[in-house]
Structure formats: C-alpha cells, structure tokens
C-alpha cells in the first residue's frame, strides 16, 4: 500500500509545515519582547483554526479516487463485519455455488465434452455394422472387414478421411524379459488423420505402411516411462516386438492413447497384418462439417445393402451400417441429452447459490434503509451512497469468488485423485475449466451487484426529506419485496429437490452395481489366457491335452480352491456369440446367446447356483456328451421356463449346428458386465465346443493376487510355445467399471449434498432475517403473554408454507426432468418412490431445522428491550 504511505506522508508534511510557521511566529514575538506564554497565545490566535487550514489544504490537493475508494472499502468492511453471520453465509453460498459448479463442469468437460486430444474429435465416428434382427446386445453390432473398409473409403462426399486400426495383445522382449503390451496396427493415414504431434521423433507416415518399408514403431508415453525409464535416446533404438525387430521412430505425447496402445506399428500392405489377414478392424471416419449423421448412416447402409446383394450368405438380412460418434460409444447414445442434463444440473446449482445470495442481500437491504436515510440526512450525495453499496457488494462478491475458486481448485484436484484410470476415455484429462470458473464468478458478481444495489434504486427514487421521515415507512415499502424473497426461497427448495431426486435416482441405479449378486467375490478369481505362437498347435487335440494338464497342475497349487477351463469369463462375459434354437420348433428364429465351453470346475469358480437339474459332470466332459446347462434368461427366452430339463436345442456357432440336451438351469448372474442386463447363456462341455479351449479361470481360497506369480510360473512350464499369458485378477478387470461407478456416485453425491447445503443456508439466512425483523412484534406478543410454542409456530408457519409449496413444485419438476434419465436407470423407475420419499424427507427435515432454529432464537428476545429498541 505505497500510495497509502504517500498519502499519510503528505499529511504529516503539512502538519510539520504549519507547526514550523507557528514556531517561527512565536520566536519572532519573543524576540520582540513578549513572554513565551503570550507569544504562543498570540501566534495561535493569529494562526486561526489549524484543523480548518489542514482541511482547506487537503481540499486543494483534492481527494483522490483511491482515497475515497479506500474509505468506502473500510466502511464496507466494517458494515459487513458488523453482521458476520450474514457475510459468512453469503460468502459461503457464493463459494459453494461457484466451487461446486466449476468443479462439476470441469469434470464434465474433461471427461465427456472434450476428452479426446484428436483433431476435430467431435466429428469422428466409428463405422459399425448392425444386424437389426438381433434384439440383444451380443452379435448385433460388429466392426468392419477389409472389404467393407475398402467400400466405405469411397464415400468421400460425406467423409474427410479415414483411420484403420487393429489392436492386439503383443509381447515386448527387453533385457530377456517379456512384457505383455498392447500393440496397435494402424494404417499409414492414422497419425496425420488424428493430427497428433509426437513428443520425441516422428509419427507413423503413409510411406511406413508401404510394402518393403523398414519395420518401425511409435511408443506410448506410458511405455516409454515404464519400460525405457523415459530415456530420451530411445528414438532409433531397436526393440523386439512380437519377435520382430523394429526401430523406434517416436514417442507419442501423454494424452495420446489411440486404442489404449503401448506401441503403434504401421499396418502392412493395404492393412493386412500377419495376425489379422482380412479380418476385422476398427475404421474411423471424420464426417465432413455440416453433414447430418442421418445422411451418413443412410449412405453407409446403402453400401452395406449393396455388399449383401453381392454376397447374401455373409451378411445379415436386415443390415444397417452406422457411424457411431466416439463420445456416444463412451457414454451411451443419448449422450447430448445427458450432457445437457448434467450441464443443466450444474447451472441449477449455480442458480440456487445466486438466488440464495440475492435473497440475503434483499433481506439486508431492508435493514439498511435507516442507515442510508441517516447518511443522506447528513449530506451524503446519492452517487456516494450508490458507490458505497457497490463497493460493499463487490467486497462480498470478491470474497465469494476467491473462496469459490479455492473450492473449485481443491475440488478438481480431489477429483483427479478419485478419477479412476482408463474408466472413461484414457485420453481424458480433468483440469480446472477456467472459462467456466469465470462464468460462475461473473454470474455471482452480477447477482451480488444486482441485488446489492437494490437499496440504491430506492435512493434514486426518493428525496432526502422522504428519507428523513421515512424509516418506518421504508420498512412498509420494502415489504413489497417480500414476495420476491418468498419466490426465491420456494424456487431454491424446488431446484434443490429436482437436483437431489435426479442424483438419488442415478445413485440408486449405480449402487445396484455394487450390490449385485455376482455369485463370487471378484477378488478371489484370476483369469489366465494364453496366447500361443502362430501355428504352434494346429492339432487341436494336442492343445486340449495341454490345457487339461495345465488345469490339473494349477489345481494342485497351494491356495487354489478350484479351477476350470472356460470360454467365457465370470461376470464379465458369457462366452462366444452364438445362436440357440429349440429342436422341437426348428423353423423359429433363434435366440442370440453367449456360449461357453467349460470344464466342471466352473460351477465353483464362478459361484453359479443350480435352480433345476444338474451341472456338467466330469463324465460329460470326458465323454464329450452333448449336454448343456442354460441360465434362467435363456430358459425364459426359449419359453421353456417351466420344464427346461430334457429339452433339445441346436447350438449354432459358425455354420454347423450341434444338438444338445438341456440337463440343468443356472440362476441368473451378471454375465455381460455389472451394469448390463443378464444375457441368455449356455454352458456345454469344453470337449464338445468347436473353438479351442480359451482360458483358465481360477478361484483362490483367499485373495487371488498372491496366486498370480505361482500361476505364471506353472503355466509357463506346462504350456510351452506361448507368446505370452494374459494373467489378471477378476477385480482388476472389473475395476474400470466399478471405478466409473464409484466416480459417478461420488459426483452425484456431491451434487445432491451441495444442493441440500445451499438450500439449508438459504432457508436459514432468510428465516433468521425474518425473525430479526419481527422481534418487535414478538416482543409485544410475549409481553402480552404469548407462550414459546405459539411464538415459534407463528414464525415457522410462513417458512413452512413456502417450503411445502417448493417441495410440491420440485416434485412435479422432478417427475418431468428425470424422464430423460430413464435410459440410464436400468431397473430403477423414474418414479421410484423410495428415492422421492427419501429426498423429500431429507429436504423437509433440513428445512425444518433451518426454520425452527432461528425461530427459537426469537424466544431469547427480551420484550422490554425489543419494544424500547423500535
């Protein structure tokens, strides 16, 4: 505050100057023979009023803008400080609104709105082929083949460019150690297409994908750190990837996570890689600006229909080809709606906070008419008063904004810690969203100014005489703003209710995931999936023998409770996509199912429960008997829920149907992830399954983590010629899903709690004010013998009525607003009475506290004092 020191210094100098004048006068007079006392008295007399002189000189200097601002600020500070409760609550409300809204929106933005660092990511679509005849998730949608990709790449009218990618599990050998890695074969066009700039070296160029080009690879930032210790000299080093020597040409930046790769290698010659000759690939395309997605889908489907006409056997009858926006794949199709909804919720939170503060300022304004009247009577100009109010409002807004920014910063940091890796797009980065913070702060300042200046309107309207007369009149006049305050409170309650109901409904559906009966504790299950070298076991019998041997060896490991061979993975995935028909009704449309070839141990490993019949026996497996166990859902779909055991079904995997006899039914358990509904599933002996035995699933006696190392050693020994073995515990595989749900729960919980807190603050502040304003009336009533209960009742009734109206309006609003949630809620109804009841009860209870506590404070009013005071 140097300008302040300078101002003070100038004052002091003036004092010195004037004193010097006096002293010299005294000296002269004494030199002329006067006594000191006489000289001093005379000099002072002649000097006149030194204070007046000082003031006049100061007037000559003029009051600087800063000086008067400083004065206003000091006054404003004192005025706010004189009611610390008001200042604290208003600041807290503003801070909560700004902080929560900014945090939420930052997460939304980072995770949902702009998660991809790729060029024009909002126009990227993944081309997908649909079989509309299939109703269930499985087998309905697939990515595209090489031939299809070639056809689609001709659609340059609607697409700007294309990117073909093929992710696969690979192995990096370094220093004699094998690391399981994700290797993505990409077309030479991919790097320029997504417009990524490498951190080191260069990206894959089109010429790298031409035949005969030297083999190269681009490294992910993550792999660079983990495997190469962030060595900047990694570029031009040779690495051993999938038993092939490749030269590292570059390192991708941190956020680049195209198909969660560790390495990107150029796809060879028209994108036929050795591991995926003519197979499926992910084809992404960038839609030209302004082309509607409906046209994109129509043209794609036309190509699909042409392909089917040329080759009817290979394509579904009811084919449809669509471009799916990347972001829709991440969140689900009604993505925009979700986004609008969540943004709406964020905005609502901010609105609640602002209406809160507006309310408090209006309340405070009424209390200030007297003060303003006095100041005007003492000669303060209108502009001066308005400026004073402005400065006070700004002080309040500044406090709220500073605290809100701190909350937003801390909130984003906290969420970054909670945000599970790879849950949403791996590319997503959550960072404090500055434009939104500015918007929130701006809106708050606007609100505070708008309502903080409310008394100023009155100042402008009335003249001084009226002010002088009118303290009591002012109070009457101001009661006109009461309806505005009541509406604000009611609206706050309603908005909080909508927010809380929405959040609670979603939380209930998310929580279902944690409460789902999975049959087995995912922590105790491990999955081992061996990848064999190319053509190592063309003889399937030999492979089966090896897997049987591995199963027996693993079973004898200490700590292993049970082990099985299975195509599917418990909870996550029911197996291969297939179709089942009842033999007795051959012509009927089949049911899409997940089919798994299992050994008998799976019953215990997966914790399945038999409801009818029996499970597969060792004799079934060893004897290659065509018997099957189905789940309840499949029994229902086949319409044989009453007597499934003994029914004969035909299982179509590929083109050759096999006849199976149903011997048992399993109780439904999640088999397509925790959130999606149970798919129809069929289990058959692994020996009768047309595909190679896929994986071993192991259930440990305790936590499966400790089993991973012995398992790895055992499998390396018993399964020769593996490229690598994918070995994970089931809970780590479920973690992304669980993490996402935990995160969503935390986020929604914060929404709900913040809404509730803001409603509480608002109600409390307004009620406190009402009580303070009516202390005179309460004093009279108590002096006349009113009982405590009557007084509280009197004060609480108005608040209770407003809250009740708010709750009714909010309930109606929730019923309308949550309709858009329906597709997310799964089994939870949008009218779930438990959620509504819980929220209404919580809000009503909170409101009651906010109303009753200030009301009981009125009981402390001393009637005599209250009466004297007025």
């Amino acid at each position: 505050m140097r300008w302040l020191d300078r101002l003070r210094g100038r004052d002091r100098e003036l004092q010195d100057e004037l004193e010097a004048h006096l002293r010299m006068d005294v000296t002269d007079r004494m030199a002329r023979g006067a006594s000191r006392a006489d000289a001093e008295a005379a000099a002072k007399r002649e000097f006149g009023n030194s204070l007046l002189v000082t003031e006049t000189v100061r007037d000559v200097w003029g009051r600087t803008w800063l000086e008067s601002l400083w004065g206003d600020m000091r006054y404003g500070w004192r005025s706010l400080w004189s009611r610390p409760g008001f200042a604290a609550m208003a600041t807290l409300a503003l801070a909560l609104g700004i902080g929560a809204a900014t945090t939420m929106f930052s997460v939304l933005y980072g995770v949902l709105i702009d998660p991809f660092p790729y060029k024009d990511a909002d126009r990227l679509v993944l081309l997908s082929v649909f079989d509309l005849d299939r109703s269930s998730e499985m087998g309905r949608r697939r990515i595209v083949t090489r031939d299809e990709a070639r056809e689609f790449s001709g659609l340059t009218d609607i697409f700007e460019g294309f990117a073909n990618s093929d992710p696969e599990n690979g192995v990096l050998n370094r220093g004699g150690l094998d690391y399981p890695v994700q290797v993505i074969s990409v077309g030479g066009e991919v790097f320029p297409f997504i417009g990524i700039r490498t951190m080191l070296g260069r990206g894959i160029q089109p010429h790298d994908a031409e035949p005969g080009s030297p083999p190269v690879a681009v490294l992910s930032e993550n792999a660079w750190r983990k495997v190469f210790a962030a060595d900047p000299a990694v570029v031009n080093q040779n690495i051993m990837l999938n038993q092939q020597v490749r030269t590292v040409i570059g390192v991708a930046p941190k956020r680049f996570a195209w198909f969660t790769g560790d390495f990107w290698i150029p796809g060879e010659n028209g994108f036929v890689t050795p591991t995926n000759p003519g197979g499926l690939r992910y084809m992404q395309a960038r839609v030209r600006p302004g082309v509607p997605i409906a046209r994109v889908n129509a043209e794609l489907t036309a190509v699909g229909k042409r392909l089917r006409a040329a080759n009817p056997g290979q394509y579904p009858k009811n084919i449809q080809v669509r471009g799916i926006y990347c972001i829709d794949d991440l969140v689900g199709p009604p993505f925009r709606l979700t986004l609008y909804m969540l943004s709406g919720a964020v905005f609502m939170l901010l609105l609640i906070a602002c209406s809160n503060v507006a309310n408090m300022l209006l309340s405070r304004a009424t209390a200030r008419y007297r003060e303003i009247g006095v100041r005007m009577a003492l000669g303060a100009g209108r502009m001066r008063i308005v400026r004073q109010l402005l400065v006070e409002a700004l002080l309040l807004a500044a406090g709220g904004a500073a605290m809100g920014s701190a909350i937003a910063y801390g909130g984003v940091r906290a969420l970054q810690l909670v945000l599970p890796p790879n849950t949403f797009a791996p590319e997503s980065v959550v960072a404090l969203n500055v434009p939104v913070l500015l918007f929130a702060v701006g809106l708050s300042i606007f609100t505070v100014l708008l309502f903080g200046l409310a008394p100023a309107w009155q100042v402008a309207r009335r003249n001084r005489v009226e002010w002088l007369r009118g303290v009591s009149k002012a109070a009457g006049e101001v009661s006109r703003t009461n309806w505005l305050r009541d509406i604000f409170v009611g609206a706050q309650v309603a908005m909080s209710l909508i927010l809380m109901v929405g959040a609670t409904l979603l939380m209930r559906s998310f929580a279902g995931v944690f409460l789902a009966d999975t049959g087995v504790d995912a922590k105790s299950v491990a999955i081992a999936f061996p990848f064999f070298q190319q053509n190592a076991y063309s003889d399937r019998g030999r492979l089966r023998q090896l897997m049987d041997e591995a199963e027996i060896q693993v079973r004898s490991l200490p700590g292993v409770r049970s082990v099985a061979q299975a195509t599917g993975t418990p909870i996550l995935n029911g197996g291969a996509s297939a179709e089942v028909r009842l033999v007795s009704r051959g012509a009927e449309q089949g049911v899409s199912v997940m089919a798994s070839g299992d050994s008998t141990g799976l019953l215990d490993v997966a914790g399945y429960r038999i409801t009818q019949g029996r499970w597969l026996t060792d004799a079934d497996v060893a004897g290659e008997r065509n018997v099957a166990v189905i789940n309840e859902t499949l029994a229902r779909r086949l319409n044989i829920a009453n007597s499934p055991v003994g029914a004969a079904v035909a299982l179509h995997i590929g083109n050759d149907p096999t006849r199976y006899e149903i011997v048992g039914v399993l109780k439904d358990a999640p088999n397509h992830g925790l959130r999606l509904p149970v798919e129809p599933a069929i289990h058959v002996p692994v020996t009768t399954f047309p595909f190679s035995p896929g994986q071993l699933v192991i259930r440990a006696q305790g936590h499966a983590n400790g089993l991973l190392d012995p398992l790895w050693r055992e499998l390396q020994r018993t399964l020769p010629n593996t490229r690598f073995i994918y070995l994970k515990t089931l809970d780590t595989l479920l973690e992304p899903e669980l993490g996402a749900h935990r995160f969503a729960l935390a986020l929604l919980g914060t929404f709900a709690v913040t809404g509730l807190a803001l409603a509480l603050i608002g109600l409390y502040a307004v009620m406190s004010y009402a009580v303070a304003r009516r202390s005179y009336e309460v004093g009279i009533r108590m002096a006349l013998g009113a009982r405590a209960q009557q007084v509280v009742q009197l004060l609480a009734t108005r608040g209770a009525v407003i809250v009740a109206i708010g709750i009714v309006a909010g309930t109606a609003g929730s019923a309308a607003a949550t309709r858009v949630l329906a597709s997310y809620l799964g089994p939870v109804s949008t009218h779930d009475p438990l959620s509504y009841g819980g929220v209404i009860a919580a809000l009503a209870l909170t409101a009651m506290v906010a109303i009753i506590v200030p009301a009981t404070r009125a009981l402390g009013i001393d009637p005599a004092r209250a009466l004297r005071h007025e």
């Binding site: 100057e17 004048h21 010299m24 006049t56 007037d59 000559v60």
Partner: protein, 121 residues
C-alpha cells in the same frame, strides 16, 4: 497611508491577487510560508495581512499548478521549514499577472479619476 491602525485599514484581497502577491514576493528567491506572509505584510506596509487559512491553501494550489516548487530546508535559526521557489512557469505567470495588474490599475484609475458629471472638458 502611514497609519498605525493596520487592522482597521486592512483590505480584503481581490480574488487571484493573493496568488500574484505570493509570486511577486518569491521573485528574489525561495522563502518559507511564514516569511512569505511577513514579506507580503511588510511589502504592503502592513496594509495587506495574509491569513494562514488563505496562505497555505494558496501555496499548495500554486505548487499543484506548477508555478512553485517546494523543498524542505533550514532557516537561519536552524528551523526546519518548507521553502517555496518560483519555477520557470511561475516566473512567466508572474510577468503575465503583472501586465494584467497594471492594465487593471490603469483602467480602474482612469475611471476613478474622472470627475462626476463629465461636464469638464
């Protein structure tokens, strides 16, 4: 003019005249406020006595206008005091004021010396 009752004959200063008197007093060199007051008083043979309530605001006003420059110094009695001195701008202003003043004095004198009625000629 040489009366010994200075208080009775004191004249209210004309607006702007004080500024000119201060500038005039300072033309021989820097002086502090007390000396300026004394200077004006003795220079007008006690007719004009400047009150501190007018003097200091005027000094600060002239300083603000840039006609005066103020520095802290010591008097012959080794008192610390604020000395004012004319700036170049102040000197120019003084010349201008003097010209205006003599014009006014002439004009006022011409009017005042004329006989009533004007029938003389």
């Amino acid at each position: 003019m040489s009366t010994h009752e200075p208080y009775k004959n004191r004249i209210e200063l004309l607006q702007g005249t004080l500024d000119m008197l201060i500038l005039q007093t300072l033309r021989w060199g820097p002086l502090h406020g007390y000396a300026i007051a004394l200077g004006i008083r003795s220079g007008t043979e006690d007719v004009l006595q400047v009150e501190t309530g007018s003097l200091y605001p005027a000094l600060h006003r002239l300083e603000k206008k840039g006609w005066l420059r103020a520095t802290w110094g010591t008097t012959e009695n080794r008192q610390r005091a604020r000395f004012y001195q004319l700036t170049a701008k102040g000197k120019g202003q003084l010349a201008e004021e003097q010209a205006k003043w003599s014009q006014m004095v002439d004009a006022v004198a011409a009017l005042m010396s004329r006989r009533p009625g004007g029938e003389q000629v």
